[in-house]
Subunit: 185 residues, 2 copies
Amino acid sequence: MAYHTQYRPPHYNSAPPDQGFLWNIFQRVDKDRSGAISDTELQQALSNGTWTPFNPVTVRSIISMFDRENKGGVNFNEFAGVWKYITDWQNIFRTYDRDNSGFIDKNELRQALTGFGYRLSDQFYNTLIEKFDRQKRSQVAFDDFIQCCIVLQRLTDVFRRYDTDQDGWIQVSYEQYLSMVFNVV
Amino acid sequence: MAYHTQYRPPHYNSAPPDQGFLWNIFQRVDKDRSGAISDTELQQALSNGTWTPFNPVTVRSIISMFDRENKGGVNFNEFAGVWKYITDWQNIFRTYDRDNSGFIDKNELRQALTGFGYRLSDQFYNTLIEKFDRQKRSQVAFDDFIQCCIVLQRLTDVFRRYDTDQDGWIQVSYEQYLSMVFNVV
């Protein structure tokens, strides 16, 4: 099989943190005290102490994953999911980012995605690096790595729906193809 | 044939405006006097007098179309192209936006895209409206209409490359499919 699906970061399943600890963080991140953390608030919190602001597209992807009523932010209960999600990705990322630089190169990206079950050509890893190397360092930062995994996951899910015999090939009409893309982007 | 390609807005080919007139506009839009108009500057100019800021994704699409050296903005010569491009789209949009509301509904969008040569199902027009109705009015504003046309165009170009016998169907592998999408988004 040429591809694989995992919605959650694989291998890691960190224990939920203490509620009091999480509540303290929630209150610090929820700067306007609205009871919900917005894209901007989460982005500021995640960018804190870093040189480059956390990828806003990744922030939007994560918030929309946990924001159940589509209210444009996450409440405290939902934030627990966000926290765990990001922590799990951090743990995964660190196992591949051996020098703790905050970046992984093409080989490390290949190791990570191969570990998730993806089987992709060397050429395609160049495409991925080019696509998700937001800082133009021929490497992928943590936030962009999450985004890369989310996008690959969504694209793979949509492909699977059409690849009914699971042979890694699909035949689609023009309009089916357009719908597939609009399902993801 | 189920689809059609047009890079430029079809049917319209407005005369280039007077250079002095264009230079005056360029200077007003180039607020920081850098000699190049950035995304932010163009967006501000296009949002002037409107209720909702001009779609930043559309602005990026247009700038990147004319920014030949990938410098993140357009110089005066390139701006002439941008001006003509937007004016041509405005003329097209106005012929479909009969009540001059700044929005076109599903039927008007269908008329416009059918006029460009697209043959899409009624169901797919619902998808397009849902996708490009940024203001959630079940209608498409001018900036989102341009973006819709640009995206459809790019997707169609990529599809054509694979549809060698032009029958409106393609057979692609998982990785070809991923590459097709990354070519566009």
